[in-house]
């Protein structure tokens, strides 16, 4: 260590998207300072441009991906499987950079891509919302980009310290964002609640992390994983508390019951685009954290956290879906729906299989668009009628057909109605859980039951908007057929993702396989070729007899 600083600058290339984003943050900041009068559009445009640059950089990072493809021609076959058929034999080892504190695996690409994608959709509709409510626009972009930066670092971190700093960058900027409309009491209150709750959760996370450090003497995730393996066979309460304390914080970020109680209050009080950000971008980053910690570092302690998380996933589904039935505010309803969806997504991770992980990643992708679409629609509704109460949106179809159509598609997708992405996400997820073993049937039972309950509160707003008598606010509204761009984008993506699910599933499958293949304790078995849904597949003789004449 005392040989002086020798840095391998290779890692800078890998961090190109983050660098682009940081430059964007600084540019927006300079613009904010330089201009006496804020112009929301300029800032927004600058933010979106830097996001796009960042996304482009991420795409450029295909360089190691491309190398891999060049050396593995079978990958092309794999990626084009929906059209050609074929299988992938092996996945590449993930790379690490900067003293192994950064991990360049497919998961980090995928999560960073998701985060940036989410933000690109969020920023345009944020502008529309905030410029009506506050004069200070520039700082918003600054903060929201900073939060995303934190999330991206979270996704690529291979070190507990980096993980922590990324997490806190995301969290602290989120606290500020939740209170962005500080002149509104609700917004300030949401921010303060979120901060206190998040602060305590952070303390718990750190306490658990300090125990990890105590046990292994390292902060590097790989070394930690190796070090914890020595303890994985032991039954000692310190280990349980260590795992549970870290878990509580991660699940708090995911709003899994019983760590979910902040969610509805914060979503309701925060500005709507921030609520969208928290429910999509922040949650995606939290999933990265969850996967890093539990599908990797704590894999040896699966017998501690697996039953607990299964239980909590089910509890979240129940709590989220049941309490949503009683909501009268659309934003709050979406907050509870978020809790329920987090429960579903958690299922894919707790079953610890390639399929499960892959379908959770696909679910995240689908969820990103359908939930952003729903939030965008709610935001435009709020902008139009100044309220998100269910009683006020009644009969909106006559005045805002485009909005109602978009919101309906997104709600149907959230409810899991066929041909939308939400349906396929649930379908693949449930399939993966079933395939992981018969002992998980009770999870599916609860998932199906609560999905049925959820139909009511997803369809109720649609019923009100489409066949309800126009409410007073709606009656006074001038008709307009405008369909805002972000909403259209999200709606179309919701359908497209559903129809072309195979392509995305191949990418998530690759990611999941690489992730679980590189985690030391559990060797991943090659997935069975024919995983059947309900009825056992026929033997080979049967197959031959059946298709012999074709």
């Amino acid at each position: 260590m005392t040989d002086g600083l020798v840095l391998d600058t290779q890692f800078l290339k890998f961090l190109l998207p983050e660098l682009c984003l940081t430059i964007g943050v600084l540019m927006v900041m300079v613009l904010t300072i330089a201009k006496t009068r804020h112009n929301a559009d300029e800032h927004g445009a600058l933010a979106v441009v830097s996001m796009l640059f960042s996304l482009g950089a991420l795409a450029l990072l295909g360089y190691n991906f491309k190398q891999f493809v060049d050396t593995n021609p079978s990958l092309i076959v794999h990626l084009s499987q929906p059209f050609l058929g074929g299988t992938l034999a092996n996945v590449p080892e993930p790379e690490t950079f900067l003293y192994a504190t950064i991990r360049g695996d497919f998961l980090s690409y995928m999560i960073r891509g998701l985060l940036l994608l989410g933000l690109v959709v969020i920023i345009p509709f944020s502008t529309k919302y905030l410029e009506k409510r506050t004069a200070i626009m520039g700082d918003y972009y600054l903060l929201v980009m900073g939060a995303t930066l934190g999330g991206m670092v979270l996704a690529l971190a291979n070190d507990l310290i980096l993980l922590f700093v990324g997490l806190e960058t995301l969290s602290i900027t989120s606290y500020i964002l939740a209170g962005y409309l500080r002149r509104q009491r609700a917004s300030a209150e949401a921010s303060f609640k979120y901060l206190v709750y998040g602060g305590v959760a952070t303390a718990f996370f750190l306490f658990g992390t300090s125990l990890i450090y105590g046990l292994t003497g390292s902060t590097n995730l790989q070394e930690v994983t190796q070090g914890l393996l020595d303890y994985s066979a032991m039954t000692h309460p310190t280990l349980v508390l260590m795992v549970l304390m870290v878990m509580a914080t991660v699940l708090f970020k995911l709003s899994i019951a019983p760590f979910q109680m902040w969610t509805p209050d914060v979503y309701e009080g925060a500005p709507t685009p921030v609520a969208a950000f928290l429910s999509v971008v922040s949650k995606t980053a939290a999933f990265a954290l969850l996967i890093r910690m539990f599908s990797y570092a704590f894999l040896g302690f699966a017998d501690i956290w697996q039953p607990v998380m299964m239980l909590l996933a089910v509890v979240s589904m129940i709590v989220g879906n049941v309490v949503a039935l009683k909501q009268t505010s659309l934003k709050r309803l979406l907050a509870y729906s978020t809790i329920a969806h987090a429960g579903y997504m958690l299922l894919g991770i707790v079953v610890l299989s390639v399929d499960g992980l892959s379908s959770t990643l696909y679910y995240l992708l689908a969820y990103l668009f359908m939930n952003l679409g729903a939030f965008a629609a709610v935001l435009y509704v709020e902008n139009a009628i100044g309220s998100d109460q269910l009683s006020d949106i009644s009969g909106l179809l006559g005045k805002r057909p485009g909005l109602v159509l978009g919101l309906s598609v997104c709600l149907l997708s959230l409810a899991g109605i066929p041909i939308t992405a939400g349906f396929f996400a649930k379908f693949f997820l449930f399939r993966a859980v079933i395939a992981a073993g018969n002992e998980h049937m009770w999870l599916i039972l609860f998932a199906l039951l609560t999905s049925t309950i959820s139909l009511y509160y997803y369809l109720n707003p649609m019923r009100l908007m489409i066949v309800g008598e126009p409410s007073k606010v709606v009656e006074g509204l001038a008709p307009s057929s405008d369909t805002p761009m972000p909403l259209t984008l999200a709606t179309v993506a919701t359908i497209v993702l559903g129809v072309w699910a195979s392509i995305f599933l191949n990418a998530t499958d690759l990611t999941a396989r690489q992730l679980l293949a590189s985690s030391p304790p559990i060797k991943v078995e090659p997935p069975a070729v024919s995983q059947h849904l309900l009825i056992p597949a026929p033997s080979h003789q049967d197959q031959a007899a059946l298709h012999g004449h074709q």
Binding site: M1, L160, I161, F164, V165, E168, I172, Y175, I176, G179, R182, R183, Q184, R185, A186, A188, E189, A190, S191, F192, K193, L195, V196, G199, V200, T202, A203, L206, F207, T209, S210, L211, Y213, G214, G217, S218, T219, P264, D265, V266, E268, G269, K326, Q327, R332
Partner: protein
């Protein structure tokens, strides 16, 4: 008893953490809540430095971790106070009981 070792520091940290947690859970004054939060984070720092000193002297990454926690918690505290000021402007009270218009 007097032979102080790692476990003394760990228990000290647990005690500090618990007191801090109680302060967060039970204080009525919002500023006191923020102060208690800082106590909890400091407890973690004690843990980390103790571990580093007693178990893992091959490098000082425990201390580095503490420095980061220190930095971040300072940022968190200042943001917390700023939020509190904004909230106080609307409610004219630092009473935690007042901060509950969002519910249900």
């Amino acid at each position: 008893m007097l032979d102080v070792g790692l476990y003394h520091y760990l228990i000290l940290a647990v005690a500090l953490f618990s007191i801090g947690l109680y302060g967060v859970l039970a204080s009525r004054n919002a500023i006191r809540v923020l102060m208690s939060l800082e106590l909890m984070l400091n407890a973690v720092n004690i843990n980390l430095v103790a571990f580093n000193n007693y178990l893992h002297l091959h490098d000082l990454s425990g201390q580095v971790f503490s420095i980061f926690i220190l930095t971040v918690s300072a940022a968190e505290a200042s943001v917390g106070l700023a939020v509190l000021i904004a909230l106080f402007r609307r409610t004219h009270s630092a009473d935690m009981e007042q901060y509950s218009i969002l519910q249900g």
